[in-house]
């Protein structure tokens, strides 16, 4: 009896110690706004994210000032007037993969992520459909979803209404590597 217990205990500890978590510091997030007068695209290549395949949860944090725009003035307005980066420097997402996937085995999996996005001081739930590609070296995750700016209290003043779409498309592309403690 004691031996069985010990064995279970050791097994438990060894499971916790095994790499269940994957992370990246150079994740990619793009948002795209398609409007009658102008298409606006902004890229952020400095997203930090953690994926826990044990609990099937994932989280990412985006520094708003790291979004790069084609036009310097757009970037300034984005930070100063729309998302107020000094007050809300980060956008954060925390979610769970809905499917019962065994992400220890290499392969390509379709995944649905449900979670909460905290942006511009407003929290809102989102569902995104994406793909996870598990390989020997790590996990690649891609996902697309849409954000309605008004949901996050981001106001677009009337003079630029024709230049900024009320709903923007967000593309997430992460290249996770096993996390080293």
């Amino acid at each position: 009896m004691k031996k069985t217990l010990l064995a279970i205990a050791i097994l438990t500890v060894s499971i916790t110690a095994q790499a269940q978590k994957f992370s990246t510091r150079s994740g990619f997030i793009r948002f795209f706004s398609e409007a009658p007068l102008e298409n606006i695209e902004a890229n952020n290549r400095q997203v930090t994210s953690i994926l826990d395949i044990g609990t099937k949860s994932m989280a990412f944090s985006v520094l708003m000032k790291s979004f790069e725009f084609e036009k310097a003035l757009m970037q300034e307005h984005f930070n100063e007037k729309y998302v107020h980066s000094d007050k809300y420097p980060n956008a954060k997402f925390n979610g769970k993969i809905q499917e019962n996937l065994d992400l220890n085995k290499p392969g390509t999996y379709a995944a649905t992520v449900v979670g909460e996005l905290d942006m511009h001081g407003v929290k809102k739930n989102y569902t995104g459909k994406g793909t996870l590609v598990v390989s020997e070296s790590g996990i690649k995750g891609t996902c697309k979803f849409k954000i309605t700016l008004a949901d996050h209290n981001i106001e677009i003043p009337s003079p630029v209404k024709d230049k900024i779409a009320p709903v923007v498309e967000v593309t997430v592309d992460m290249d996770y590597k096993p996390m080293t403690k």
Partner: protein, 320 residues
């Protein structure tokens, strides 16, 4: 009993694992970010490259061309006959271009005394927090102005050099909050030709200014140019030279900034508003003015940055 203990031991192993993994991904992210802190530069200390008369620490981004049209009208005291100064406009057309995100060049032409001007501007220090902390932004500025008005006395020997004026400035600013920024600008203006012997060729001045953002697209600016007494003694247009005081509003729409202001200076460029201001606010010698700027993005700076990176990589590969 043993079994209960065993179950407890097991639970003790499992529970923290389950709860830890759930909620604390976000706090783990925070720790990750703290380890790799980034430099957070203060953006938009001022709305545009000008405060009112003088330059602000801001430069145009790389690949950005700014077309700036400034108007300064006559004195309000001109009354209805002069349409409160509007009949008497001084206009400056200017082009500014961001060679890099920190280096700016510009040219302009004012109708006032038919003056051409050109300038260079470089952001030496940028206010930042995070990984690198810098309390102030500092921009270096130098300009040259060429007055092309006909010589008052064409019979005497006139030199081209007498038409030249130079300005050197160190613009020091801090964005205290989202809404409030201040700037101090020690300035030297050198005039090759002055009116009388007791006028200094090189004039020292200190400019101070600030902006208070009223809403996202509206800001109130104030600017004062202090020229210590005793440097300019001859009269300008029959009046004593004064310190320029200006108050204005920045109104921003998508691609341009509208600036409207009142100032006791008639000139728009440094040498004019620093050494040739002769209006007195309390007498109503105030000029209305406004400028419109339009921004053109000549090329995509991100693509340019990407290309530079590729070139750098190629060079490294060639070397190795």
């Amino acid at each position: 009993m043993r079994r209960i203990v065993a179950a407890l031991i097991l639970a003790a192993f499992w529970l923290p694992m389950a709860s830890f993994a759930q909620d604390d991904l976000l706090s783990e992210l925070d720790q990750m970010e703290k380890k790799e802190e980034k430099i957070d530069f203060a953006s938009a200390t001022f709305k545009t490259t000008r405060l009112i008369n003088g330059h602000s620490i801001e430069t145009n981004g790389e690949g950005v061309l700014l077309f700036l049209i400034s108007h300064r009208f006559g004195r309000l005291t001109g009354g209805p006959y002069e349409y409160f100064g509007l009949d008497n406009a001084n206009i400056r057309f200017g082009f500014e271009y961001g060679v890099t995100d920190r280096f700016d060049i510009g040219i302009g032409r004012s109708s006032f005394e038919k003056t051409y001007d050109g300038y260079l501007k470089y952001k030496l220090l940028r206010q930042s927090k995070g990984k690198r902390k810098m309390p102030l932004s500092v921009t270096l500025f130098t300009s040259i102005a060429i007055k092309t008005l006909k010589w008052p006395d064409e019979t005497r020997e006139n030199y081209f050099s007498s038409r030249l004026f130079y300005t050197y400035q160190i613009l020091i600013a801090r964005k205290f909050s989202d809404r409030f920024s201040l700037q101090l600008t020690p300035t030297i203006v050198h005039r090759n030709l002055v009116a009388a012997k007791n006028d200094r060729n090189t004039v020292f001045a200190l400019m101070a200014g600030g902006r208070a953002k009223l809403t996202g697209s509206l800001a109130l600016n104030l600017e004062y140019c202090w020229v210590p007494r005793g440097q300019i003694n001859s009269l300008y247009n029959g009046e004593q030279v004064q310190d320029a005081l200006s108050i204005g509003l920045d109104i921003e729409t998508g691609g341009h900034v509208f600036q409207v202001y009142f100032s006791n200076s008639r000139g728009i460029i440094e040498k004019a508003f620093l050494t040739e201001t002769n209006g007195l606010w309390w007498k109503g010698d105030v000029h209305f003015g406004f400028s419109i700027s339009r921004v053109f993005t000549v090329y995509d700076r991100n693509k340019a940055a990407q290309k530079r990176q590729e070139k750098r990589l190629k060079r490294q590969v060639m070397k190795s």
